[in-house]
Symmetry: D2
Subunit: 336 residues, 4 copies
């Protein structure tokens, strides 16, 4: 950390900051220039918050030199982490496709979708049983019944399955039925939930919050990892900007950035960002081109009857087109 | 709802949309202009999501005519809701001040702060026992021990108390110790938590998420109210923008907007937005001028020793100045 | 400036950065901690851009210690700048009200509005002659004819006048007719225009761009001041955020922030931000409470006939109410 | 346009809105549901601003059904526009690469860069002569001398050239030396400048403002086109979001969106968004995958000596790698 004192800070002001640094067992490096005095904090700074220093009225600025996460950082672990979801490796250079309906609505629907995505080559099956809906009056998901159908569909097709966990109270039942537990964007900073899945042994798919910085995403991952569970897959699903044409702005930049900041795999969810079906396939192609570890898309055997988020769901024929597209691009860029 | 078809939509395309509307028991009003066909949805539209229509490739746009919340809306209830927190009314035209330390750290600290804020005229005492900290390595709060100290401080001073609930698992113990349950900004769309406090009978202080629209804030309130609990107080605490000078941008516009959209009380938390102590008092004055129902501020008997968020905490003498300022402004604008 | 090297930077990497610093006549202070090497740049850093250092693949981060503007900074000039607009001082602790129609549309309209705002106590008269309209098909303003009417209205009422300059080609004619030249938000980084008004001797009202940081606003002021013209008044008019209820989010935080960063006066324009008339008066009250140097509002003698931006214009009776409100609040907070 | 009246609007309120619609020669379609009255505006709505209706206190909402631009819209012109830049077609399905130094600094530098990018296969040569620099104290470009060097470099290599125009006063000299005139992001809503290049006959490269919506970008293009010049190429260069890792967030979604909204070509500038060299090539690959019409990148023969924006400039060897990458991806997706 670097602490910049205000112009006019006196020796006693500087010593107060140094004392606060020492109190936590760190060393201080004071460097007084003609304009300002700059104090470096030497040692482990993970426990410090910048605000502790900014509270001092004689402190002008405070910056982090090292990142506020450790286990999730590339400097802690140089090699890419490969997370096994059932028997499917994520993060090993292949391009993983997770597909299935937004919400599980019935046995027929779940099985039809599962068979369709398996046929086109999906690697992991998704299906929402507990749904975080914007409105309390919208369909909230089938719950445990949905989980059972998802598990059955996974067994039918031989695909590992993923579903969202919304409450610590449901951890056991969700963990029992899925191979990968999803934490949704709205719960990215639900720290109780993060700690809960961190104590478990199921891999976690952690979605970036709609207005979360990449640093915050990695600190959220750190919450999980610090509890013991190192099998975290990150997922970008669109951020909130001023643009109104799309519901959210899918941020592909994260792939390159996360690969530099962290060793964790990063997937792209192009279905939810735009809310427009015609943007899903182009964005999936771009995800492959920028070397994301895969995509997660919604496929509904009959989108016109979907009870939730039908807008961005692909029909099976579109999904088949998507699979061909990403294969072609993944192949083309593999050796670049 | 208004559905705008794409140019070139055929009769069969229009009928498909009409059929979807009918299927949910609503009526459709089709209006074909020279350029576009516009379809109005007549009847209760709370269960529809715009995305259900946007999924149709022949639909260009879809707008809501009525708001996606009901119980929280001003049109459902014209009169201002007054929420009783212990014996303190919030929303009745008075200016409520909630004050106390960010985190409860010790008995001495809690009591000193409680006595100080009571002396200056605060109406409700706050204190964090479960803390949503950005980093897993930061102080996470004293938990139940903290709640006990808070309750004791409330009894000592005669002030009702508020503290944050982070997990459904802690509902009972938090509800037992406080008069008002806070849902933090990061949990504004933690729907499991919203439903949980909605089923209880303690009033709820619901903070706006850092990137939540006002509509989303009111739908979050609706989640609570739909479960039965109508005692919801809203709180603005700063939104995420591109500006870097402040940590968050406190959005005072919400006061006037919420008063038009809803009957619920709205408070302002000027402590967390800026992360800068010198901005707290000016913003509190402005909150009174714009007729917010009150403010919530952090006061620490000795901010230099605060374990959390010290930066924006006021010293008792600053808090005394704040109280005098807001009284003067509240008095001045009362009859405007 | 502080340059943070990447972990693993070698001596030669560090020396390359030091050499770049020396080449520009500055000194370097190298501080090697156990994790990272941090290099301080000592001397004038106004000519450096952070990107010059970030380009180096072995540089991790680069921060400014001092601000990237000088003449506009509070540390360069401790005393508040008072800008004289005609005979009206702006920035001397009084609360200046600029009022008048969005666009000048006719002689009758301009005179009626001028008389109305003068009667209620406005200090400066506004009126748009060259209008930056979103659409090329919208009314673009009366141009020079409008300026003449504005000048006449100013003489009639004894009020100094302000109007917007959109092009360097119009500088002479605008400067000839007004007492204060407005640079609109969309032109805040039109550097040619900034330099142009900087070479003139008319005071400048510089509006913050819709997505400009406060630092960028002050650097834009610096562009003007560096050319010689030190009479710059800043104006906040709403920033672009994700919120959809208001057109823009008026950011009152800027008042306190700018007062700390700079010596220049800061006004608030509450008319354009919200696009909703009912938000203008509350925000004007809050502006007075937070000690802005004044407000700029739109008043139209008959808003229903306004050719431009009618939505947020006040009727004369509303304006009278606004004047009374801000007077009451300004009086109340004067000695706080 | 659709105007939604507030609940409780009376017949006279509705008639007032209808009268305003009639006054402008349009027809009104009034549809009264049980909750709200909705009024459709039939006829040309380009001259209406939504704010004209929102000003009415009995109007709740107002939406556009048709877009606020015409000449730039896909519905006005179905076929893709191909803009000829010298002898280089942009928008015909090929992938155009514009490359060259950020700023022209010397004859040697310009020629070296031109030869390097030509050798790797660039189609158009760029070079900044008038530079919009954040700071008034930074290098502002070589001006006319730079334009001459750029033209010479274009002739030397046989590449058409592009450079930025910052002021209407420089139009003639810039137009004389270049084949394509760039309007920078900061001037996207400098309407005087847009009209100026609209009256000329040189093709225009219009960059999206840092916080401009796609609709605003197309309305800016409309400003140019309405003056007669139909040769407009759009360019995305990153938008302003809350994320701090990158300087700006490159928004690849625009490609698919613009292709639906407009017939104009759309390029991607991956150099300026991130401010990080390591993100340029991956984003260029993704641009090809999503079927942008090309990219615009900065190449400096010796980036370490660049006077401006060195951080994101590619060395010639990186540019060679970029060219190979985009060729491979463009080839792979051509028939998808």
């Amino acid at each position: 950390m670097v602490i910049v004192m205000k112009k006019g800070a006196k020796d006693s002001d500087i010593q107060a900051v140094v004392a606060h640094i020492h109190k936590n067992g760190n060393e201080a490096d004071v460097s007084s220039g003609p304009n300002r005095t700059v104090i470096g904090v030497i040692g482990d700074t993970l426990k410090f918050e910048l605000s502790e220093f900014l509270m001092d009225p004689m402190v002008d600025k405070a910056y982090r030199i090292t990142v506020p996460y450790k286990l999730a950082s590339r400097s802690y672990k140089r090699d890419d982490t490969v997370v096994m979801v059932g028997n499917v490796p994520v993060g090993n250079g292949s391009f993983t496709v997770i597909a299935g309906p937004c919400a599980i609505e019935s046995r027929d629907q779940m099985m039809a979708a599962a068979i369709a995505v398996k046929k086109s080559g999906a690697n992991i099956l998704r299906g929402g049983a507990f749904k975080p809906r914007t409105s309390p009056y919208s369909f909230q998901g089938m719950g445990v019944e949905g989980l059972k159908l998802l598990k059955e569909a996974g067994e039918l097709t031989g695909l590992p399955v993923v579903s969202e966990l919304m409450s610590t109270a449901d951890y056991d039942v969700v963990a029992e039925h899925v191979d990968l537990i999803q934490i949704g964007a709205r719960n990215m900073q639900n720290f109780s939930l993060l700690k809960c899945v961190g104590r478990g042994d199921k891999p976690v798919l952690l979605k970036r919050g709609m207005s979360a910085t990449l640093e915050e995403l990695l600190v959220a991952a750190e919450y999980i990892m610090a509890e013991g569970n190192r099998n975290v897959i990150l997922c970008e699903r669109g951020i909130r900007t001023f643009e109104k044409y799309m519901r959210n702005t899918l941020d592909l930049n994260v792939v390159t950035a996360i690969k530099e900041m962290s060793h964790l795999p990063i997937l792209i969810d192009p279905s939810h960002a735009s809310g427009r079906r015609n943007m899903v396939i182009p964005m999936a192609r771009a995800s492959a081109a920028i070397k994301a570890d895969g995509v997660m898309v919604e496929v509904h055997a009959n989108p016109d009857e979907a009870l939730c988020d039908g807008g961005q769901s692909l029909y099976p024929e579109h999904f088949e087109e998507l699979m061909q597209s990403v294969r072609v691009v993944h192949e083309a860029v593999r050796d670049l």
